[in-house]
Structures are given as structure tokens and as C-alpha cells.
Amino acid sequence: MPGKLSLMVAGALLAAAPMWAHHSFAAQFDQNKVVILQGTVTSMEWVNPHAFIHIAVKNADGTVTNWAIEGNTPNSLLRVGITKKSLAQGTEVAVRGYLSKSGEHIASGSSIIFKSGQKIALGSEHSGVSHQEAVLEWISSDEDLWKRQIEALKLDHSD
């Protein structure tokens, strides 16, 4: 129920512990807590050392929680075709990431999908492949696809 279920925390069995950038990933985020968030973009913080996407997530009880999603450095995001204008305010997105150990509504972002069917990597899970492969998977803009993709995000990382 992607429309209502806005947060899912699932224990993730990872093939290998994630590596990190200039600071330790494992010290900041819980590798065993994957979050899947569905909401609307409120702002894009195009900052170093890591960009942040802020999204408003509607909870099951109707309240709204603001989440900060940490992405890669703007330099790496630029190199795979993401700019600070890629995520306009109000854009509906679903994000997969890892929950912060600080207990706040912060998560590292590994991938993001749009209602259009577009899917992009926020971290590095697609780095090393060509620009076209890494950035876009334009398929269509139908509502069913969006739902199926969110379900796929959960299935991929909840086993």
C-alpha cells in the first residue's frame, strides 16, 4: 500500500558492509535498518560534502514528518547527471536508504524513483557504469508502474 504506508523499516541482509566516503558510513547510519520513504520534495540542499534532499512524508495517522536524505557529494551527482534542479519542490518521490543512528529523521539515500518511472542512484551503487545507464531508466509515466517500483524496492531489500 504505497499510498498510505510511508515508512518501512526492514532488517536488510547485505552482501557486504558498505564502504564510506570521507567520513564513516557505519558510524553514522545503521546498516541493518533500511528505510523506504514515499513523499514530496520540499527542498534540495546542494551542499558539500554530501547533498541532502528534504522530503515531507505523510504518515499513516495523517501527520507529516520531514526527512533529510543524504546523497553523494554534489560533484559525483553532477557526474551522473543529477543537478540541484533535478528535484523540484513538490516532486513525488520514493527513496530507499539507511536510517541514521542519531535517532533523527535522517537517512542515507541509495536510490530514488519518480512517478514518471525514472530511477536514479543517490549513492554510488551504480557508479562505474556509463552515464546513461546510471542516471535514467525512463519507462513510462503510469501510476501502476510507480506502485510496482515501490513494491520492488521493498522486496529487493526486505529479505
Binding site: W20, A27, Q28, I106, S110
Partner: protein, 314 residues
């Protein structure tokens, strides 16, 4: 014709051909308008070469094709399962360290071992991952995690996860090296002026350059003492640290880089690293203002306090 005679003739012909073969010409780089060898351009360290060689390789400095493939596959795997890192292809070079010949850092002197062990109550100098064990203060983060610097030669090490750009800019009497990570620029006088006074010390040191033929030689001293250079975080260095770098454009598209690091207060002997940076005119160096929003520092410290509270309640 007997067999021995044929062998003799073959050797003779081979010898004559070898004597007549043209010697490979050494590359002459283009000149700047003021007559210096022109090394300017973008030379990203987009290569996967570890600092040290596995001990069991001994003095073999070149990987087999299978070893290279295995290293490349491991790099791809690391980028796939990692966060915020990029993939760089492996080369046949076994290690960045080329002297000592076993590709490994020389042993530390006993005094340096003692000094390092005493840091942070016995935990040793902070590394990139040390906040996972303890995050009590900024002192538990290395200088890179604190967005200060990767230091020398840390800033020059290839394969630094992301932001791999290096750019050289020249002007009359000036040689400039920019590193995308962590947004460092060294402006090195080449006009023969002496080093600054020994009491003026910085993280990147005080460099002076001169040309030896087509090679730019940069000698850097005046480092801040008791810091660790990134990539070699386990060693706090002393104020005796001296680094000599040699930049040579060996082909149009290749920049040979050697750095000899000596710190008699730390290592029993100097050591040298080597890398060939490829020219990449398409590479763009972007600003990396690491301090701009280093929320990770606060988040990690906060997360560690949360963990303490959780344990206290148990």
C-alpha cells in the same frame, strides 16, 4: 648446415638487428610561452592501486593478468556494495610504494611505535573508521573526516573513493597543484627563494620547486607535527617530515609522479611511491567545500551519545 651453425647465424643476425634498431626517443613535452616544460592539464587519479603490496608478492612489482582482474573485480564489488564511492579500474602496478622493493612501508622506529600507541588512550591515531569504535569528540575523527585536509602525500594518492581530480597550472616562477579532494591548492614558487622560517608550519607544508631537465622537482618541508597523512593514518609524523616529488610528462597523455617521503622521527628509512596519472581533458574539477555542511560529524557524535544512553538503560 649443422644445428650449431644455424644457432650461431641466428644469434648474429639478431645481434645486428638489435644494434641497428632505433632507440626509443625520450618524449619532449611542449613548452609554455615562457619556456618551461608544459605539464598543465587535468591528471585525475582514476586508478585502483593500493598503497602497499601483499607481503607474499615479495619484490614482484607487476600483477599477473589474473591478479589484475581479481583486483578490478574487487574494486567493482566495493563500489557496488559501497556508499558514496566510485569505481576505478585496476592497473598492473602492484603497489604505489616502489621503494623499498617489496612495496611496503619501512618499519617504524621504536620511539615512533611508542608515540603512536600512546595516542587516544592507547587506541592510536584516528582513522576514517575509528569513529565506529569511539566517537567521543572530534579528536576521534581523522583530518579528512574533519574536512581539514588529506595532507601530503594523501592528497596525491590515486583512487581516493571520489573527487579524484588533480590539476596542474603554471605561470612564470609558479607551479600550482590542485587536488579536488579536499579542495587543496598548492602554489609553489620556482624562483629559487628559500623556505619559510622553520616556525611557520602548515598541514600541506611549504613547497619549493625547480626544474631538472623536463622534471619539476618539488621539495616540501615545514609540516605541522603530530599529524597523520591520509592513507597512512596509523603514523603520526614529526616535524622532520620532508617530501620530494618529481613530476615528469613522459608522453603527451601520461604524467609520471614520484614522491619520496622521509621522516627520520617515524621511519627507519625513506620510502618512495610512484603513479602514472592519465591526462583527461574532459575531467572537470568541481569545488569540494567539505566544511560547508559536514552534518556527518554531528550525526555521528549524536548517534554515539544515543547508543551510550541506550546501554545505560539496559
Amino acid at each position: 648446415m649443422n644445428k650449431r651453425y644455424i644457432v650461431f647465424l641466428s644469434l648474429l643476425v639478431t645481434g645486428i638487428m638489435a644494434a641497428q634498431a632505433p632507440k626509443p626517443k625520450s618524449y619532449t613535452p611542449p613548452k609554455t610561452p615562457w619556456g618551461d616544460p608544459d605539464l598543465q592539464g587535468n591528471w585525475p587519479g582514476s586508478i585502483n592501486i593500493p598503497l602497499q603490496r601483499p607481503e607474499n608478492m615479495g619484490e614482484r612489482a607487476v600483477l599477473t593478468e589474473a591478479e589484475k582482474k581479481a583486483r578490478d573485480t574487487a574494486g567493482k564489488q566495493r563500489a557496488t556494495t559501497g556508499t558514496w564511492i566510485e569505481y576505478y579500474p585496476a592497473t598492473e602496478q602492484a603497489s604505489l610504494v616502489v621503494d623499498p622493493k617489496n612495496g611496503r612501508l619501512p618499519p617504524m622506529i621504536p620511539e615512533a611505535e611508542r608515540r603512536n600507541k600512546a595516542v587516544r588512550g592507547g587506541l592510536g591515531p584516528p582513522t576514517l573508521s575509528s569513529p565506529e569504535q569511539r566517537a567521543e569528540s572530534v579528536e576521534d575523527f581523522d583530518l579528512w573526516g574533519r574536512c581539514i585536509t588529506k595532507g601530503l602525500v594523501g592528497s596525491m594518492l590515486p583512487g581516493n573513493l571520489y573527487n579524484k581530480g588533480n590539476r596542474i597550472i603554471q605561470a612564470p616562477g609558479i607551479f600550482v597543484i590542485q587536488n579536488e579532494m579536499v579542495h587543496e591548492t598548492r602554489i609553489i614558487p620556482t624562483d629559487g627563494r628559500p623556505h619559510r622560517g622553520k616556525d611557520i608550519r602548515t598541514y600541506m607544508g611549504d613547497g619549493r620547486g625547480h626544474w631538472e631537465g623536463n622534471t619539476m622537482v618539488v621539495e616540501t618541508t615545514n609540516f605541522v607535527k603530530d599529524i597523520a597523512m591520509n592513507g597512512i593514518n596509523f603514523a603520526l609524523l614529526t616535524d622532520q617530515l620532508r617530501i620530494v616529488e618529481r613530476f615528469t610528462r613522459t608522453t603527451q597523455d601520461k604524467l609520471s609522479y614520484d614522491a619520496t617521503i622521509e621522516d627520520p622521527g617515524t621511519w627507519a628509512r625513506p620510502w618512495t611511491m610512484h603513479v602514472d596519472y592519465p591526462l583527461d581533458p574532459t575531467y572537470e574539477l568541481f569545488e569540494y567545500a567539505c566544511h560547508e555542511a559536514n552534518y556527518g560529524m554531528a550525526d555521528i557524535l549524536k548517534g554515539a551519545r544515543m547508543e551510550e544512553q541506550r546501554r545505560a538503560k539496559q
